[in-house]
Amino acid sequence: MKHLLIFILSTLLLAPANAQERIIILNEGNWQADNGRMSYFEDGAIVSNKWFRDKNGMKLGDTPNDIIQINDNLLAVAINWSNIVQFITPEGLAVAATEDVPNNRKLCTDGRYVYVTSYGHECGTIDGMREFTKGYVAKIDISDFKVVDAVEVGYEPEGIAIYKGLLFVANSGGYAFNEDHPYETTVSVIDAATMKPVREVDTGQINLYGKMSQSGQYLCINSPGDYYDIAAATIILDCRAVLEGKPDSECFTKLEYAATCNTTDRLGNFLAIGSRYSYYTSDYQFDYSTIAPAAVTASGGLEGVSEDLPGTMLEDIKAMQMPYAIYVNPYTGYMYATDAGGFNSAGTLYQWDPDGKLLGKHKIYINPGHILALPPDGHFSGIEPVLAPETGSTATDGKIYNLQGMVIDRPSEGQIYIRNGRKYIHKTR
């Protein structure tokens, strides 16, 4: 009885205080129509489909392309066609913006700096304008939002992730159709501290393009191929193998699936929706997959992939007109996907519970391409509840890493971290 009372009381007190599902969706809008928009969704309802504008009295910009959380108080948004990296608070208030990184693509962070890929050829840094022949990665200091360093990588670098102090950058070479260079096949590895290239991993697969998901030491990288002779594929990159200096061929596993949109679930698996298209036949082939990266890596791709998604998600997504994003809330396990529908009508946000039961559909805006969950308690620890088991030899430097591989100085109570190659739940005592 006492327990029940306490439970009821605490439920009453706590439930209204913290929303559990706090989701930001970036709607890309139409290209050159300046109608990129932010939608905010909270506990089963859309709060606003023009959230940024409501909060700031101004428009977001043209074609927002990525959004990440940096710390408790800061998020970064890459707004591609506006050439802006926009910093906002979790409440949606604009903090700062920089145009020093034109043609910005994707973002990652170690909590101190934001790293952003760019297809452009110049970058405004604190040391003046830097010019590059190919694409580059810029390092933005969040204390003053200035670019402190930048390094050239391959042509048209796309996805970026950080693992144990190293940046992994997927090069696409996506301008190959117009420019005088071929598609890229490499992943550039950069030391985040020094911004110096460490090595390049050649995957042999062209056009490493689109969102990149991370699960511990593994990255899920999509390649749409060239739509002609080279088919789409997914590269599962083992960052640890790269770190250990293994030969390129042992650092990745190639799967004959497309993973156009992908995300990481709470078990550390990648969920992916992909489509393969051929200009020869005008035919599509769709892939829906759950990828267990450790099993895939261990078996050389023979095991670890199931052509299924949790619950009714598979059927629901198959019924979509144009699946455009997939996401799992790392804090709660609730799942999301978007349907862009027709390209000039509002897209739809689908929500499933952690078991894959469809909870609802919500009208958002044009081309909803990117989703980010905010922590329910407001405390961002950098943790992505990603449980892919670490394999191979272990680091024994005594540093504490979160599951994204970021070094953590002050771990928070009750969260999962990695130290000396082992996961543990941090307790302050």
Binding site: Q32, A33, T63, N83, E99, G210, F286, G342, N344
Partner: protein, 668 residues
Amino acid sequence: MGWRCENTRIALKITVFTYRHILLCLLTVTSTLCPAFAAINTARPDSIRPDTALRELDVTAKRRPLATVQTIAGSDLQSLSSTSIADALKYFAGVQIKDYGGLGGLKTINVRSLGSQHVGVYIDGVRLTNAQNGTIDLGKFSLSTLESVSLYNANRLEQCQSASEYASGATVYLQTRRPTADSLTILAGAGSFGTWRARANIQTKHRQWSAFVDAEYLNTKGNYPFRYKTEYEDTVGHRRNSDIEYWRAEAAVFRSGFASHFYFYTSERGCPGGIVRRLSDKYVNVGREWDTDLFGQLSYNWQPAPRHRLKFIIKYAHEYLRYNTDYPENQNTAKVDNHYWQNDAYASATYSWTPWQWLNINAGYDARMSWLDADLKRFSVVRRLDQKAVVAGRATWRGVSLAASMLFQHYCDHTITHVGAADPLSRFTPSVTLAYQWRSLSLRAWYKKIFRAPTLNDLYYTQTGNRNLKPEYTRQWNIGAEYNWSHSGFSFNGQADFYINRIENRIVCIPLKGTYTWSMMNYGETYCRGMNATLNGTYSLRDWRFSLLCSFTWQKDLNHTDPDDPDTYKRPICYAPTFSMGATAIVAWRQLSLTVSRLHVGKRMWSYADPEDILTPYDNVDLKLSGHWRGFIASLEVNDLFDIQYEHIPRYPMPGRSFNFTISYSIR
């Protein structure tokens, strides 16, 4: 995931005019703006005796009650704003002009929401073509050499019409003025946004021969100011990279049934993108375009015997286009430097037979061979043979006229492009018109079915082309009435037409499901009901002449594509206004003339996603004042007098108020 801009762009570059056309595709091709205005034409009774030998000029200038036509001719045409033929056409009922802003911005015409590729533009009866994308940029043609501009819905229904003239949903006829005396005219002008122009015209008439040469140069910086002011935005700026410099030269020689026309145009222009949020002017999206177009056409209208007429046309056209984005301030896009070459050879033969006065039979055949080459990756030369044949008949009995035609079209492509050529396309399409004339009143009803074949870009453009495209069909039904009245210095013409048109298998560029690319697809069906009306009156009294030309367009153009999608089904097509109207008043006194034009275009939606995604209604008032003194003509134009900020395409602002002053001197 996100759509990668460069891929989008590739997709969209299906048309050559990258930035501007991108939107054309992106935004579902239908629809647009919609001005309207009317046409005047002193309606003449149908007094042409079929067996009378006629010069081409007469044929096209006469009014036929059978056709739904609007015309602006002669002094009325010269009283309008003179920058391009788009300025004249925007006053017609049922017309929507799509304009990407500025003198260099692409200007296309859409009639009754059929889509710009269903509108054929003809110069002296010969179609202007663009095998690549099927769209004609009206900005490349000048009003200065024209006698009249006419818009026909469905067919023109004249004798000796070529098969090609039956092959579009609506037709715009540009009729070149035949010189009537020797003259030399030079003109100089200056206008807002750093605009300078010069023109020279020489005309001669000698016995049955007449000829002219007309050359024009224009240069504009174009950096015009714009302002977007809403509750969440106050963006003030100058539209950069909207300059254009062009040379245009035309020449023509006529001798009764013989007509020729030679045209040369070369330009360099900036292609500015949409105005989007930026922190500064550091980066701009620079695309630049160079065009060179030329054509030569010869036609001969021959009457070997009283009841028989023959017409032959040959034409050769060449178009070159270069598009370049390799500029340091352009950080957003791939460094594109592409070149496109098109050649087009055309020949037509038409025979018209009038066995009895009440019956006319018309038969025509024409063939067009087009070549398209481009230095795109995975592209190789495409060749298209397009043949058309038509049989048409027209019978008249006591004021009742019946016209019917059957058109056959055959398209056959050849290419070694990776995907191979599309299958040949052969189709028959009919049209029928019934009219009744009683004194000054005529009633008409017509039906026309026609298609547009996929263009070479639609089929073969690298990455977006789709060789499996089907033709896009339109079916139009129309009933209308026209009334003419004139009495002692006063003349009046009024017409009203109600129409329905359906478009099936629309050819649009849409994103592929779950990939990053876009492709041409047959997707969409529209159902449009509408009404066009025009009222024109003129009154002359001693030294005074008053003209009033009014047009009204009301239409419901609805999306009938997907019954399962409540967001779009039976909702208006993007960019199509429900109501628009135009009015032009011209007052002339002796050597002075003042023209005031007002154009109202109602609200248009541009996406289905949010009710606030609309283009606001606008009212545009243009003024033109001109005066003659001896050989001099001076004119002052003020366009958009009240500096209304408006757009045809979201984020492509129009220039606002501008001034234009010209002075010319003629020696006769």
